[in-house]
Each structure stands twice: as structure tokens, then as C-alpha cells.
Amino acid sequence: MVKKLFILALSALTMTGICKAGDFPYGQFTHEELGMKSYAKDASAHAVVLQEFGKSWISTAGDEINLIHEYHVKIKIFDSKGFDEGNIQIPLYKIDGNRFETITNLEGVTYYTAEGGNVQKAELDPKQVFIENTNKYWSQKKFAMPNLRPGCVIEFKYTLQSPRLFNFKSWNFQSDIPKIATEYEAHIPAVYNYNATLRGFYKLANNKAELERDCFSIGGNRCDCSKIVYAMTDVPAFVEEKYMTARKNYLSAVYFELNDYVSLFNGSKVKVTQDWATIDRDLKQDEDFGSQMRKTNLFKDRLPAVIAGKTTELDKAKAIYAYIQKNIKPNQFYGFSCDNGIRKALDTHSGNVADVNLALIAALNAAGLNAEAVLLSTRDHGLVNKLYPVVSEFNYVIAKVNIGEKSYLLDATDNMLPFGLLPMHCINDQGRVVSLSKPSYWIDLKASQKKTSTFILELTLQDNGKLKGTLSRYASGYEAYEHRKEIKKFNTVNEYVENLDEKLPKIKILNSDIQNLDSLETPLAEVYDVQIDAYDNTDHQKLSFNPYILSRITENPFKLSERDYPVDWGAPTETRFMLTLHMPNQYTVETPLQPTGLSLPNKGGMFVTNFTAQDNVYTFSNVLQLNNSIYTAEEYPYLKELFSKIIQTEQTDIIFKKK
């Protein structure tokens, strides 16, 4: 069964009656809970959330506006593999020295059955709660619940205070363990207007709203709140699958983004996110974004040498791209806002993604080219919600340069990427183009090239049983990019060839020639003269030969019978293989290879093999094409079957016999 995924805008609810439920009492357990042997709906679970409750509101205590989030959970742990649930780590964000998140009212208790059979309670010792100062942005509150045993129940609660109001507080209905009941209560003052989005496979069991009178006050003014309840029951564990895109795309959760609020000073409405026009305006004025894109004067002195002799716009753009690739090394931080600003990035040769790519845009503009910025969310960061503008979902920025009728997407953070090819982590649905001169718009982020490789083998069987000839390998698109990186792991080409030779004990490389290693836009070509240990001699009545001597697929990458989530295949791939075999006169073919032709529905891919014989020359070829970056869960069985058939095909040999 394939489940349907949705991203849903939660509308402002009509106020209905009274929301019941609410938090459950702390410090209580039942004997049923303690006696539970497994979770009936998922016998494989090592632990299950019995009850989980969260409540968020905005506090004005002490003349500070803070988000307050109360969290309370009770978890049943069935066995020692579930003990990880008892090691808790709460990340806390620091805006600066004065504004940071804190935890208060932390309490925890473990209920367990002791050796004698009587039930015991062990409280969390406050001395065993640690705070780790991770780096300048983050710290972690860490604690381990005491006295865990197979069968125990743990319960803890705390209050998080945060100066970050923008995203209110999101709530994950789903986690790595199943949840029997999870409920979230948001108290949103009428002066704040948030957009709420629900993601995932599962529906809310309860979603009610009610009005709370005079719940919020500041400076003597009062206003009402909406109390909104979101609840789910029996939420299955989130189980990651191989070849999966971001977990966030599928995890059942509710997210918030501040839309507007009423100013506490003058009562006027302040729009935070409303429409792209406002966002465009803000981004263009942003000190760490639009202002950086306009810093063309930084390149006045630098540029002439870079584009000297380049006459066409395309050549100039390529030269500038190469210049930025070489001149600013990315640090490990993603983001669409500059870390240090492009001036400092150019001086120190170091910056975050935005420093690098906004510098690229500024440099392109400085050369009179038309360059724009593209905001995007990387693959592991999840898909962007397009129901309404949510700027905080972006975590990356690239450049788009428009030359004549064509446009090119550029990421200068990787110096092995050819002009116009995006790294795989940027290929994620759509990005938002932000231009200094016109309104923003969506653009598809597709792999502009495939991952293409071709192997050509021309071999002759010698009397001594060895195959001699040439092996050629051509790589383009993502294959060339990845393969270049592999070669560059060695200090010299000779060291790469030596290692290749060593890795293939049956193949001796007699001579090698590698072309276009540094010409990133041309296919990478390798030609090797080789000698292959095939047989001990040619005095056999029969010789069987498997043409997949370089690599034979013997294991299916897809093993599950069905899947919940789409398969993230990366770039579309095309692999061609051609082998020409010259056999000695005394042999003729007894069992030829049967030609194969298989394809996926909707032109998703194919596998084709061919075999021809002429005199003593045998030609074998095969092509494997996988044309999509992502295969849906519905397409999964076909993909799995394709690989199964490939394995079957590749295990058959050609059999030669003596004439």
C-alpha cells in the first residue's frame, strides 16, 4: 500500500466549543503501562510514547517578549535497545550574549519494577543534568534518565523559553518510535498572525480552536488569544529507507511562520511574511543579501585581469565563475545570508555559501552581465512549502546568469563543478529567483546533465590465455565530476593509475592516457592498454566468458518488497558498455548471449544488451539508462524488478568451443 503524502495549509479554524484534554498529570503511572510487554500496533518497537503533550504561548513577563514552550512526555521502554530514549539532549540556540534559549522546571522520573517485584520511582538528579556549550550558536542540555530497565516507564517535562518568535514552535507528531497519543496546544495572541502548515502522511485526530479572552497583555493593553489544539493518535514510527530524500519531507509535523503582528507601540499592523513582493523588497535591502549583491565596486580592480581577452558574455561569465571558485573557499556553513560579507570573504578567501555565491553575482554584475540570486533548500533540508512564502525554509543560495536567450545556474562553492552544473544537493524541486531589478519567481532545479559513462573494450585472446587490448572510459556530466574528484584524491595522475592497476589484480595496465582532467566542460577520457588474466591457456575444449569483466551487478540495491517513500536516485544515469572480442581461429561460439531488452514504465529507464558474431570477432554491448532523479513509491517495484533482471542477465556466460 502506498500512502499519500500531503503538505496542507491549516486554515484559521472556526472557533468551536471547548477543547478538552490538555496536559496529563505529572508523576502518575498505571500498572497497565508498567505491565505492557509490547506495543500491539508495532511489535518491533523497542519503546513507545504513551503520552506527549506540548503547549506554547507568548509571554510578556519581565517586559520581555518570549516564546514559552512546555513539554511533557511519558515513554514506555520495552528493552535495552530502547534505552536511547532515556538519553535526552535538547539543543538551545543563542542569538547573542543576551538573547538565548533556556530550560527551566526540568523534572524527570523513572518507574520500574525492582528485583523484588515492587514498583519503584527514581527521580532525575538535578546534579546529573549537564549543559554543553557546543559552539557560538548552540548549546545542549543533556541528561540521562536514571534506573532504566527493560519494561520501565520514563516521564519528564521542562519549560523552554525562547526569544525566537518567528517560527513559533513546530511540533513533530512523529519520531523514531511510535506514539500512542501526541497533542499540541498553541496559544496565539490575536496580535500575532501565524501561518500553520501540516506535513506528512497522517491526519489530525483532533483539531479544534477556541477563543481565550484577555489572555495576553502588554503595557496595559490586552488582547484575546486563539487556543488551537492539534492531536494525533497511534502515529507509527518513522523508519528511514535507503535512497531517501530529506526526512523532513515526510515526517508528520506542524510548522509555523509569523505572517504579521500588531505593533505593540502604535497599534499598526506589521507584515512579516505576506507576499513575495514584501519579501523581495526586504531581501533587496538586506545588509547580508541584496546589499552584498550590489557590491560591484569590490571587483573594479580585480575584474580586468580576470576577463582580459574575453569577448563574449559567456566567456566572461565562465572566467568569473572560475575566479570565484578559486578565490573563496567555502567553510562548512550553509545559508542564504552572508556570514562575513563578500569583502571579508574575498580578503580571507573563506566564507559561507552566501559569501561565495553572492560574490559571484556581484562580480558578474560588475562585468555588466545579468545575474540573479536563486534561493533554495538543499535536498537533505527538505522541500520548500509553496503554499505561501516561507523564507526560513531556504538554506542555500546560488547564482543564475542570463546570457542571450539562455540562463545558467551556478554554484561556485565547489571548484570541480563545470560551468552550469549544480551539485546534487541543490537539485531539489524549485528555487526562488531573486533579482535586483524585477519581482521574484520560481525556477525548476533540475540536473542539467546526466551521469553518463561509456566503457569500450577491444580485446584479443592470446595463446597464453591472456586477453590483450585497450580499455577506454569516457565520462561526462555528473559522472565526469565525480570521477575527476576520485582522480584528484591522488597527488598525481600516475599515482591514480598505479592505484587503479593495484585495485584490479587480474588486469595489468601497460600504458595509460588521461585527457581533459582539468577541462571541466569536456568529457573525461581515459585510455589504457591492458592485459587481463582470463585463462591459463587456450587448450580447453570449452571456454566460458562473462563479458562483465569490469563490474558485474550481483546484488540488488532494492531489497524491500514495497516502499513508503520515493527513491532518490540522484542524477539520471546512462552507462554504456561495448566489448569487442577477437577469438583465436580454433574457437567458435556454442552458446551465444541472448539479447535482452527491458524498460521501465513512463520512459523511466531501460536495460538493453546485444550480441553479434562475425567470423572470429564477437561484439557485445549493453546500455543501462535510469532517466529520473526520483522514482515514486508506485514505480519502486518496477525499479526493483529491473535490477533483478539485470542480475539474471549478467550471470550468463558466452560459451566458446573448439571447432
Partner: protein, 636 residues
């Protein structure tokens, strides 16, 4: 006054001249370039024990990064904590001509916690900085000075720990008062230590190496301490976190630890003592009592690492573990020891270097920095038993491949004692798979596959899945059988000291055999195929080392449709080498059975480097045999 001024001026004049460097690339000897992505131009390390509670470490290093594979060397990481402080860090980046480009100091470093990946909490921190340059090669030179309020951990000198890095010159100096009586151990040091006395009467030891070529990684190489240059240091008298002590050998070091760090940590609440007494009163033999206590401890506790201050060496109190039911390896061993003591069972707290790669403590050199884990030894007469106390599931008396076959230090009331943990032999580490399958006309196979796991192979299957969906999912990843479906599955675990696990599966796999031109192609090795041999190594420098022996046996019977004959050459391989044996056969018998038998045995040990090519050829022969397809055709 005038004199002082001119001295200062003179000093100012001298300093740059003395700091004159030759970091241009052309000055690197050509024979240091092969396989190098970075070259250590000059590295000077100096450790000075000013007094037992004041050790100063000074490092000055210049390293040339030849290409971006050497970028890791431009990441400067300096760890520190409350008692190990950084006095200063400063450095300069030079271009390929040796001209200074940029400078950096402490202020450019970011401050981060030293997350070791397994601790709930540690108070170790680090300073981090990445030096960058847009063109290669470039050289970074930096200087670090740290002070440490102790003299127990004196570090070691390891001039070339990395692959792909050459060393032009590296020097280590150890400076101490003459009565400090430094103990040191040289490993593979080609020269002779120079000992002198400086102007202030301090004793100065100097070691140096030069022109070390870059090392390539070599598969199946022995522990680096067998072939790389290292000098290890140990004090005779020391101060550490409020403790004074002294030692000259393992016996004394073990005694010091026992008396200062361990002895007073074992008190238990009376209820727990009473419970242990009740638990063991009716059990007859000490070994069975110990087993009951061990299983009680496994059920009650879990592993959590918290490293603060002396906590790196000293276990939590047994009473704290009793109360919290968690602790790190030290705490859990100490707790188990305390519980055993209640039942009058003697046990030893043992320091071991843990990891699948076997590594012993140096038997002839005692120091605090060897070992990274604690296990417990029960010295029963002629039945020494070993316990791993951090796992809830490992059988009593079984160490697995984490701490087997190595020298460890037992800290006992009568002093430290070197002991050797059990070795699981190639014969003992067995995986035996017997399958009986039917090959149908369609190419489908079905039948049973029963596998036994013993010795360290006992751990090949997890013991913590709750239901079959989870287990089936994992087995599908383990077994490369095309279209594998598992119909039934069960495990029989015998958790004795030599544990055995038996896996019984009923399976089917559609299209397992390919049908082509009316013939069946059957990959006879069902599920234990070696994919590729290790890389060959030209000009190998290290001996061949097989860390742990094992034996894999597979006997697969395919009942095939009647009237088929074998068209491929029968499989018949048999190789015997000092390091291993391999046999594989596949024959079609008159009962219409295609019978495949394979035995691979690797024998642990060190072998001369010349035998490495033989090892590659051996594995290549295994790979080829594992790839074999039997071709079955209708007999005419």
C-alpha cells in the same frame, strides 16, 4: 638603563634574523614528494616539566600543503580543559616562495566543545581554526604553548602518524629536573637519544628524525607501533588532580591506581548487599554466583559516559551506579566488582586497549596513557573468566572481538599484573552454513538454510530485534540472494561462555538461476561471496598481518530437475598457504543434486611482507571461485 635598552634593541634585531625561514617549495627534497599531499618542513615539540604540577608543552610546526588532499593539515585544533590551558597560539601563512601572506592568532580561533561522539558529557573543549590559501602549494607555520597542572600524562612523540605526509625534519625535546627520572620507550627509533644539561641545570633529552617519506596505506598491515617511530614518556614521580604518586613499572602503577582511584569506590548500600547475598546464597559454585551477579548487573544498568576531571581515570562510586543504574566502563566494572565482593568473589579491574584491531599494552613499559577501556577479570583457579560490563546482552564470560587476545593490566591489591585475554582461534571463529534447496524449472529456488555462528562470529547477528519483520529486513541486506524472500526464521542462542547462535531460515528466491538458450546458469555460492580482493601494493613496506582468524564453511545442495547435465567445467579449487586455506567444489551427482562445498579459513598472525602478493592472489582465487556459475543443460 641604557644597557637594557640596547639589549632589547639587539633582541629585536636578532629575532627576525633568527626566525629567517626557508619555506620556499623548491627547498623540499625531491624524494619527499612521491605520495605526499603535505610535507612537514620543520616540527619542534618541547615538553618541560617545571614542577610536578606544572608541565609546559610547546609546539612549533611549519607544514607545506601541496594540494587540497593536504587541507586537513590546515585545520588547526588545540584541545584544552580546566587543567590544560592554552597560553598562546599564533601563526603565519606563507606562499609557495616562502613569502608571508597572512597572520593569525588566538582571536581567529573558534571555541567548541570536544564532542567525542559517545559521551553524554565531557568538559574537554577545543580551539579551531582553518588556515586558507587560494593557491597551492602554501605553507603554514604556527606555534602553540599549553600548560598543564599535572605530570602524569606526558604524551608521546609520534613524528609521522599520517599517510600521505612526508617529514623533512622533526625534533622532540623533553626537559626536566635531573631528579625527575624520566622513563621513556623508543619504538623503531633509528638514532640514539641525545642527553644534555642546559644552562639552568635542567636535563634535556632530544630525539629527531629527518627525511621521512610519505606513507601509503597498505591493506593488512600490522599495528603502527610495529614499524613507525614513536617515543613514549612516563614520569617516575607525578602529580595529578590532587594526587601525588610514583611508579616505575606496571606493578607499581597498578598498585597506585588500586589504592588511590579504586579501593575506596566500592561501598554499596546495605539493601543492595543484602539483595546480593539473598541472590547468591543458594547458588553453589563461585562461578555460578558470579554469573547470577553479572546478569543482575546487566539487567540493572546501562552504559553512559560522563567524563569530568579525574573522572577520566576514576570510576563513579559504586553507590552512585547503584542509585542511577548507569555509568561508563570504569563505573560499571567497579560496580560489578563491588557486587562480586559481597559474595566473596575476587575480581580484578583491568585496563585494556579495546577495539576490533588487537592491541596490547606494552609489556615492558608502564604508562597511564595506554588503554582506553576497562573489563573485569575473575581469577578462578585454572578457569580465569573475563567480563565485559558495558553490554546488556553479551554472554557471561565472553569478550567477543572487542578485547580478545591482548595484554591488559589488572589493578589488584598486591599491585598491577599483566594478564592476557583469551584468543579465539581460526577454528573457533566459525560460521557454518548448510542449505538444502530445490531448483525449479522456472529458475526459482526454495528450501532451508541453517547457519551456525561461533567464536567471535557469534556476534554476526544482532540480538536485539523484537520481531521478525525487523530481522527479515536485516537479513535481506546481509544475504546477496537475488529476489530473496524469507518464509520463516528463527534463532537459537546458547549464551554460554563459548556462545553459539543458530539461524534457521526457510527461503525462496524467484529467478535465482538464469535461463538462457535452454540452459540454467546457477551462481552456486548462494550467500557468502567475496566481492573483490584487496588492492595490490607495489614496493610494500610493512609485514602482512591478519588480525583475527576465522573459518567459513558452506555446503549448499541444489536438487535440480531430472535429466540435466553439467556443461560448465566442474568447480575444483584447493589452495593452502601459511595464512589461509581455501577449497571450493561443485559437482552434479547422480541423485540430480548440484552439491557446492566451500571452506575458507584465515589464520591470524604476522607474515613477511613478501607474502602479500600471495595473499592478493589467494583472495583473487576466492573471488573467482565465488563468481562461478554452474551451467546445466538438458542431456540429449
Amino acid at each position: 638603563m641604557k644597557l637594557i635598552l640596547s639589549l632589547l634593541l639587539l633582541a629585536a634585531l636578532i629575532t627576525p634574523a633568527a626566525a629567517q625561514n626557508n619555506y620556499e617549495i623548491a627547498a623540499i627534497p625531491k624524494d619527499l614528494l612521491p605520495y605526499a599531499s603535505a610535507v612537514v618542513r620543520k616540527m619542534d615539540e618541547r615538553t618541560e616539566v617545571k614542577s610536578l604540577d606544572n608541565t609546559v608543552y610547546h609546539l612549533k610546526v611549519a607544514i607545506t600543503i601541496l594540494n587540497d588532499n593536504g587541507d586537513d593539515h590546515a585545520e588547526i585544533v588545540v584541545p584544552y580543559d580546566k587543567s590544560n590551558r592554552i597560553r598562546y597560539i599564533k601563526g603565519v601563512v606563507y606562499d609557495e616562495f616562502g613569502k608571508p601572506v597572512t597572520k593569525f592568532t588566538d582571536r581567529n580561533f573558534s571555541d567548541e566543545s570536544y564532542a567525542d561522539g559517545f559521551s553524554l558529557f565531557t568538559d574537554n573543549r577545543l580551539k579551531h581554526f582553518r588556515a586558507t590559501s587560494i593557491s597551492y602549494p602554501f605553507t603554514i607555520e604556527y606555534e602553540v604553548e599549553t600548560t598543564s597542572k599535572q605530570s602524569l600524562n606526558l604524551g608521546n612523540w609520534h613524528p609521522n602518524p599520517y599517510t600521505g605526509t612526508a617529514v623533512q625534519s622533526s625534533t622532540c625535546q623533553f626537559v626536566c629536573k635531573p631528579d625527575f627520572n624520566l622513563h621513556y620507550k623508543e619504538l623503531n627509533y633509528p638514532g640514539k637519544v641525545a642527553i644534555s644539561t642546559d644552562a639552568s641545570g635542567m636535563k634535556v633529552y632530544t630525539w629527531s628524525v629527518s627525511n621521512l617519506k610519505a606513507i601509503r596505506s597498505e591493506p593488512y598491515s600490522p599495528d603502527y607501533e610495529r614499524y613507525k617511530t614513536l617515543v613514549k614518556f612516563a614520569p617516575e614521580k607525578f602529580y595529578y588532580e590532587g594526587y601525588n604518586g610514583s611508579y616505575t613499572n606496571w606493578n607499581e602503577l597498578g598498585k597506585w591506581q588500586y589504592e588511590n582511584l579504586l579501593r575506596s569506590r566500592m561501598a554499596l548500600p546495605t539493601e543492595t548487599e543484602a539483595y546480593i547475598k539473598r541472590l547468591t546464597d543458594t547458588i553453589k559454585t563461585p562461578k555460578d554466583k558470579a554469573k547470577a551477579i553479572y546478569e543482575y548487573m546487566q539487567h540493572k544498568t546501562r552504559y553512559i559516559s560522563v567524563q569530568v576531571g579525574i573522572g577520566g581515570f576514576q570510576p563513579f562510586l559504586a553507590a552512585d551506579v547503584d542509585r542511577l543504574s548507569y555509568g561508563d566502563c570504569k563505573a560499571l566494572v567497579n560496580y560489578t566488582q563491588a557486587l562480586l565482593k559481597v559474595a566473596n568473589i575476587e575480581s580484578y579491574y583491568c585496563i585494556v586497549q579495546a577495539g576490533s584491531h588487537k592491541k596490547s599494552l606494552l609489556t615492558d613499559f608502564a604508562s597511564m596513557e595506554q588503554g582506553n577501556h576497562i573489563i573485569l577479570c575473575l581469577p578462578f583457579k585454572s578457569d580465569t573468566t573475563w567480563l565485559e560490563c558495558t553490554s546488556q546482552r553479551i554472554p557471561f564470560g565472553f569478550l567477543g572481538d572487542f578485547t580478545d587476545d591482548r595484554w591488559v593490566l589488572a589493578c589488584t591489591p598486591s599491585g598491577g599484573k599483566l594478564m592476557h585475554t583469551p584468543r579465539y582461534t581460526a577454528e573457533q571463529n566459525r560460521q557454518v552454513c548448510i542449505a538444502n534447496l530445490t531448483l525449479k524449472e522456472t529458475g526459482e529456488i526454495d528450501g532451508s538454510m541453517n547457519t551456525t555462528f561461533e567464536g567471535t562470529q557469534y556476534e554476526n547477528r544482532n540480538d536485539d530485534d523484537r520481531d521478525d519483520t525487523e530481522r527479515v529486513k536485516k537479513l535481506k541486506e546481509i544475504y546477496a540472494i537475488n529476489n530473496l524472500e524469507i518464509e520463516t526464521l528463527n534463532y537459537k542462542r546458547d549464551k554460554k561462555t563459548e556462545p553459539v547462535n543458530q539461524e534457521n531460515i526457510r527461503l525462496n528466491a524467484r529467478d535465482y538461476a538464469s535461463l538462457s538458450s535452454g540452459k540454467y546458469f546457477v551462481t552456486v555460492n548462494l550467500a557468502n561471496r567475496m566481492r573483490r580482493p584487496p588492492r595490490e601494493v607495489r614496493n610494500r613496506t610493512t609485514d602482512v598481518y591478519i588480525n583475527r582468524g576465522y573459518t567459513d564453511i558452506d555446503e549448499i545442495t541444489y536438487n535440480v530437475p531430472a535429466g540435466l547435465k553439467m556443461e560448465s567445467r566442474p568447480l575444483l579449487v584447493s589452495i593452502t598457504k601459511p595464512f589461509g586455506k581455501f577449497t571450493a567444489t561443485a559437482v552434479l551427482n547422480e541423485k540430480n543434486q548440484l552439491v557446492y562445498k566451500r571452506k575458507l579459513q584465515m589464520i591470524d598472525g604476522h607474515y613477511p611482507k613478501e607474502s602479500y602478493q600471495e595473499l592478493v592472489d589467494f583472495f583473487q582465487a576466492v573471488v573467482d571461485a565465488d563468481d562461478y556459475s554452474a551451467i546445466l543443460a538438458k542431456a540429449n
